[in-house]
């Protein structure tokens, strides 16, 4: 299917809000614009070859305005600044008096057409000067001493030549149509991100509510909800294990494409169903919150889909623009990136991996981070509390005071027995002076509430280890402490 058709179909069939649809890039319309630009260029005698040649004249040096070697440029002259309106302009170096283009290779028809335009521009520029308005370009006079082959080594002095910017009416139409859409899309991104961030905060409250009784301690309600806590932990563990919108692993960092995100969300949903996690939840609040969590993910997916389609539409239409007009729409893209930092285009060059394009990328990144800190973090995972030495839960938790690491008491005792004075993490000599006062009661309280099963198990292991230390291995093995 052609992209244009696919685009229209997605916009028509997906359940996007009306307001979104109004912000969508008008792909068809833009395509018509390109046709018009093409016609306008043809009428100036600027066919594809001539334009390509003109661009080549300027070539690489476009980036550095100061040593621009060319006499023609189809590019926007001021890349460093971000103009309010982007209009690709033809820059032509002409004879200061006659307005005749200085490139000898141009066809006579093209030359005279350009001369006409240049003269007109020079006149109106003169009028603007006369009226006291500033000249729109600082490129009008340029000292260019470097000369291409066609000039046969003649040195052009700045006094004889000047740059004239020739605006192209139809190209302006194209960008006038595209630019406001991007503004809309950016506004939409901000608004939707904010809305979803609100939802995330709400969800965070709901999740906190569900695990709340556990934090209250050993009350009657505990039995019920403590199981819910473990269900939630499992639900979040699976979610983090296979991130849906944004991958943060070493081999792959970045937002996933809509299609990937969609299949991951489906897989996650199927996984939850298979375990029957939602049905197992005890309290209605817990069930509601779980549904809320899934809905949130669906909503994020939807805005990603919409933004990604638009990003693809933009990339495609600019490519078409380049191909048909040789006016370097890519520069427009560069401009946009400065203007909208949230707009990441999927160049596909840096990595083989596809990632979400356009505003979808930052939406995925921002909201994933938001979910991680505001929702997932509410239910701590046991790995967050691993002792850095034995990789088991740091129970009982001991803080040495030298750094923020929390160790289990057994490991600290072992370190002391071995005479290892230095903190395993920060290397300060803090081990030997540790005693009962170093037990981190705050952490202990926290662990007991969030990991009632794990702490109980660790407690037993610790007791056994203490017996082994005090009375030897044989004592434990033969005795009844071994179960």
């Amino acid at each position: 299917m052609k992209f244009g058709q696919e685009y229209q179909r997605v916009l028509a069939t997906q359940d996007f809000p009306e307001q979104w649809r109004e912000s969508a890039i008008e792909y068809k319309h833009l395509k018509k614009c390109i046709k018009k630009i093409h016609q306008e260029l043809q009428s100036l005698g600027l066919d594809a070859d001539t334009l390509r040649q003109m661009s080549e004249w300027v070539g690489e040096s476009q980036a550095e305005q100061n040593d621009s070697k060319g006499y023609y440029s189809a590019a926007t002259p001021s890349l460093a600044s971000v103009p309010e309106e982007f209009t690709p302009q033809l820059r032509v170096l002409v004879d200061k008096r006659t307005g005749m283009p200085l490139d000898a290779t141009l066809a006579p028809d093209t030359k005279s057409a350009l001369q006409k335009l240049a003269k007109h521009e020079m006149m109106s520029a003169g009028r603007r000067d006369y009226l006291g308005a500033s000249t729109p370009s600082n490129h009008a006079v340029r000292k260019s001493s470097v000369v291409g082959d066609t000039m046969e080594g003649t040195i052009m002095e700045a006094e004889d030549a000047r740059w004239v910017q020739v605006p192209l009416a139809s190209a302006k139409d194209f960008f006038d149509l595209l630019e406001p859409k991007l503004q809309d899309l950016e506004i939409l991104r901000t608004a939707e991100t904010e809305k979803l961030e609100e939802d995330i905060l709400d969800l965070g409250d709901a999740v906190e509510n569900v695990v709340q009784p556990v934090r209250e301690g050993y009350e009657a309600t505990r039995k019920l909800s403590y199981r819910d806590l473990y269900f939630w932990r499992e639900m979040f563990r699976l979610y983090t294990e296979n991130p849906i919108f944004y991958s943060g692993t070493e081999s792959r960092r970045g937002a996933l494409t809509f299609n990937e995100a969609k299949s991951r969300l489906q897989a996650y949903d199927a996984q939850l169903r298979e375990i029957g996690l939602l049905e197992k939840m005890k309290t209605p609040q817990a069930k509601r919150a779980a549904q809320q969590f899934l809905d949130l993910n669906v909503n994020i997916l939807r805005i990603m889909h919409f933004q990604e389609m638009n990003a693809r539409a933009m990339t495609k239409i600019l490519k078409k623009f380049d191909k048909r007009t040789h006016l370097e729409g890519q520069l427009f893209l560069k401009n946009l990136r400065t203007k909208y930092p949230a707009l990441l285009t999927n160049s596909g060059k840096q990595s083989q991996m596809q990632s979400a394009g356009g505003f979808a990328n930052s939406i995925a990144r921002d909201l994933s981070a938001e979910i991680a800190t505001k929702v997932l973090a509410i239910v701590p995972q046991p790995e967050d509390w691993d002792c850095p030495v034995c990789y088991s839960m740091a129970w009982r938790p001991v803080s040495l005071g030298c750094c923020r690491s929390v160790f289990c008491i057994r490991c600290i005792i072992k370190l002391q027995d071995e005479g290892m004075k230095r903190c395993p993490v920060c290397n300060q000599e803090s081990v030997m002076k540790a005693d009962g006062r170093n037990i981190d009661f705050e952490a202990m309280d926290f662990l007991q509430k969030y990991f009632p099963m794990e702490t109980k198990k660790r407690q037993k292991e610790n007791e056994k280890a203490a017996l082994v230390r005090d009375y030897g291995e044989g004592f434990v093995k033969s005795g009844c402490a071994m179960q």
């Binding site: 850095p388 030495v389 990789y391 993490v425």
Partner: protein, 153 residues
């Protein structure tokens, strides 16, 4: 009955498989989970580039209170590695910390290949050559890499 494998070793081994370090692999033996076959690629830009070195690594009973025991099986021309493959590396001795891991140790060894230190030699002869005629020493190291450290097909 052999003692059950500590959780720490299980977790480290798992992570080595699921998130391998580029240019390094460590595979435990089926019949002894404390004994690993290790492969380390010579770092790019060093005189060991292109070489694949095999090492053996053993986690003693009191690991991680004591460091892993590790040595090169592949012959290597390096001032800090002796003829028996023993390695002079501070983190394997005095600077060992129980928070270090197999992964971090192997990375240190790879880094040692990238930065030989003849001022703290284990192999006096090689270190002497390294100090007196570095060009010649590097040439020998390259030759040895070609000779002994070629990946098995």
């Amino acid at each position: 009955m052999t003692a059950p494998l500590p959780k720490r070793i299980i977790k480290e081994t798992e992570r080595l498989q699921t998130e391998p370090v580029p240019g390094i692999s460590a595979q435990p033996h089926d019949d002894n989970a404390r004994y690993f076959d290790v492969m380390v690629q010579g770092p790019d830009g060093s005189c060991y580039e292109g070489g694949v070195f095999s090492l053996e690594l053993f986690l003693p009973d009191d690991y991680p209170m004591t460091p892993p025991r590790i040595r090169f099986l592949t012959r290597i021309y390096h001032p800090n590695i002796d003829r028996l493959g023993r390695i002079c590396l501070d983190v394997l001795k005095n600077n060992w910390s129980p928070a270090l891991q197999i992964r971090t140790i192997l990375l240190s060894i790879q880094a040692l290949l990238g930065a030989p230190n003849p001022e703290d030699p284990l192999n006096e002869a090689v270190a002497k050559q390294w100090k007196e005629n570095q060009g010649e020493a590097i040439k020998t190291a390259r030759e040895w890499t070609k000779l002994y450290a070629q990946p098995k097909q």
